[in-house]
């Protein structure tokens, strides 16, 4: 596989855990829609951080602001302690962030192998006569895909003909197949059956084992509690609470997501939001 070097795992416990990614004060509006009012969070290196929140809470928008799909209106992103400013997803990929987007799926009319290598295709030959190395694409694609799916799709099959689970397997294989520091998964199991979900969860743990930092967006609280080390709650465009997974439970998370429980740290801002909504109405 292409440069599949496991990222170094920070010596367990001894060294201070530094953060792989920090976002501060990210804001994003689409016309009059205030998609992100204020998002701040940190992803500890080598850990799984989950984001939970209702539909429309701004989770996908936050992800897109981090990886260069959207330019945030305000705020900053630090990768590995350094301020980064991605203006397109290629830069994020080059910096070691791979993303499985919720709604930006695969290209249906291309084959599995083509999708896996899209944007970083291996070539042979030199100069203007460089041609795709389709043989290498196929053989490496087979390795990448068979490493994780139950029902291995043919690498020459067009994605249009795959099942939902197979498609997600391909998306995940693409994210996992290239050496990366951080993998962002936006609701990776939302469309999957029980068996396929279990396989994806295994993969996430497997990636964590290899030292990759993971940002997982999920609606499934049990899954979040099973997989994550830390949970970030979002509500109405804000990051409203952060908990260590070991120190919380499903009930508290539900309360934080719905607003039944208000974290004292963000109470003030939320009251202001509510006020703003009222005056707008």
């Amino acid at each position: 596989m292409t440069n599949q070097t496991p990222a170094p795992v920070g010596g367990s416990g001894s060294a201070a855990v530094t953060d792989m990614l920090t976002v501060r004060g990210i804001k994003k509006t689409f016309g009059r829609v205030n998609a992100l009012r204020e998002a701040s969070m940190s992803l500890p290196r080598g850990q799984v951080t989950a984001i939970v929140g209702d539909n429309g809470a701004g989770k996908s928008t936050l992800v897109k602001c981090i990886v260069g799909v959207h330019a945030p209106d305000e705020g900053e992103v630090l990768l590995d302690g350094e301020r980064v400013h991605f203006t397109n997803p290629q830069q994020a990929r080059d910096a070691g962030i791979e993303t499985v987007f919720q709604d930006l799926a695969l290209v249906e009319d291309l084959t599995v192998a083509e999708n896996l290598f899209l944007g970083r295709e291996p070539t042979r030959g030199a100069g203007p006569l460089r041609l795709l190395n389709r043989r290498r694409m196929r053989s490496e694609a087979l390795d990448m895909v068979s490493a994780l799916a139950i029902n291995v799709p043919r690498v020459n099959a067009r994605v249009r003909r795959l099942s939902g689970g197979q498609r997600q397997a391909v998306s995940l294989a693409r994210a996992a197949g290239f050496s990366s520091k951080l993998i962002v998964l936006d609701e990776p199991t939302a469309a999957l059956g029980v068996q396929e979900t279990a396989r994806v969860e295994e993969l996430i743990l497997d990636l964590k084992q290899r030292g990759v930092t993971i940002l997982l967006i999920s609606h499934n609280f049990e899954q979040v509690l099973r997989l994550s080390d830390q949970v970030q709650v979002m509500r109405a465009g804000r990051t409203v609470a952060q908990r260590r997974t070991s120190a919380t439970d499903g009930q508290e998370l539900v309360g934080l997501v719905t607003g039944a429980i208000i974290d004292p740290a963000t109470a003030e801002a939320e009251v202001a939001d509510a006020h703003e909504e009222e005056t707008l109405a």
């Binding site: 930006l104 695969l106 290209v107 460089r130 795709l132």
Partner: protein, 327 residues
């Protein structure tokens, strides 16, 4: 077609994967070839001279320009765009060539100037669409008008006669039924096929046609690729300009509208989706041959010239309908 082929598990053996690929043969893409063969048989029965060596050679010769323009149109349509300016761009290229030639330039230097002029129109199209964010339809409709207008201005409404033995030989000499013009067109088709299916650029063209958003999300610089396809279309219109002059023996600021319509028609006949994402080069090239052979056949069986555009229109709509029905 079997629906189970995509579900297979494990590593397929070579023979097995070849057999499975056969099941994925796309009928819309084959339709133009089947149509061409059927049509050739029908016309050959109606008119015994239709498939004579002389007539086949004439039909091929007549299709050379359309093939070249169709290749460019295919790249554009594969990204989900359209180039309405191809024919005017070719006219502009021809007129620029003619003016430089009349000013005493060597033929090849003048041809290069015409080629560059056409390529520049392509780049302008591409940048206005990809960077300017204006709809392809509007941009190329604008350059359709602008390029023919420029051609009129540059030529001052006049034609330049160009008599060069080498140009005459391009249409007359060649190999067997293929004149040099046809061989140039077919060579360009081969190169285009390699570019579309064996280069990163070609893969990105198809990816953008399939989903521009997803392509951008994996880091493809979509604006470069889109500018590239319009550049290809413009540059090929520049090659078409030289072939046009070889055929007509003069450069003139004529509209050449039928070339635009027929280039889009050939792409449709070739089974290429107008929404982009799926394309071949062979299909549209066969589509261009089919259109030319159709017009030639209609003439030979004595149908009035007036009926030809109508017949071509019916065939194209029928082809589009079959393509849709197949899906």
């Amino acid at each position: 077609m079997t629906t189970t082929s995509a579900e297979s598990t494990g590593a397929p053996t070579p023979e097995r994967s070849r057999r499975l690929q056969l099941s994925e043969v796309s009928w819309p893409e084959l339709a133009s070839t089947i149509g061409l063969v059927v049509m050739a048989i029908v016309f050959a029965v109606l008119n015994p001279g239709y498939l004579s060596e002389g007539n086949v050679s004439a039909m091929l010769q007549a299709s050379a320009i359309l093939i070249v323009l169709t290749i460019g149109q295919t790249f554009v349509i594969a990204t989900g765009g359209i180039d309405l300016s191809v024919a005017s761009t070719m006219t502009l290229g021809a007129v620029v060539l003619g003016e430089f030639y009349a000013a005493g330039w060597n033929l090849w230097a003048a041809a290069l100037a015409g080629f560059v002029a056409a390529a520049v129109v392509g780049v302008v199209n591409g940048l206005l669409i990809s960077k300017g964010g204006i709809t392809d339809f509007i941009v190329t409709l604008g350059t359709l008008s602008a390029a023919s207008g420029l051609a009129l201005i540059v030529a001052d409404g006049q034609k330049n006669t160009i008599v060069e033995p080498v140009l005459i030989r391009m249409s007359v000499d060649g190999i067997w039924v293929f004149s040099w013009s046809v061989l140039i067109a077919l060579a360009l088709a081969v190169v285009a096929h390699v570019v579309l299916f064996h280069s990163r650029f070609g893969l990105h063209v198809l990816a953008i046609g399939g989903s521009e958003e997803s392509s951008r999300a994996v880091g493809i610089r979509t604006w470069k690729v889109k500018t590239g396809v319009y550049l290809i279309s413009g540059a090929l219109a520049g090659v078409g300009a030289l072939l046009l002059i070889a055929r007509v023996g003069a450069s003139e600021p004529a509209a050449n509208t039928s070339f635009l319509l027929n280039s889009v028609a050939a792409v449709v006949l070739g089974g290429v989706s107008l929404f982009g994402g799926r394309a071949t080069i062979v299909g549209p090239v066969v589509g261009a041959l089919l259109l030319t052979a159709l017009v030639n056949g209609l003439t030979r069986v004595g149908l009035s010239e007036f009926y030809q555009p109508l017949t071509v229109g019916i065939v194209v709509v029928l082809a589009a309908f079959i393509t849709r029905y197949q899906k």
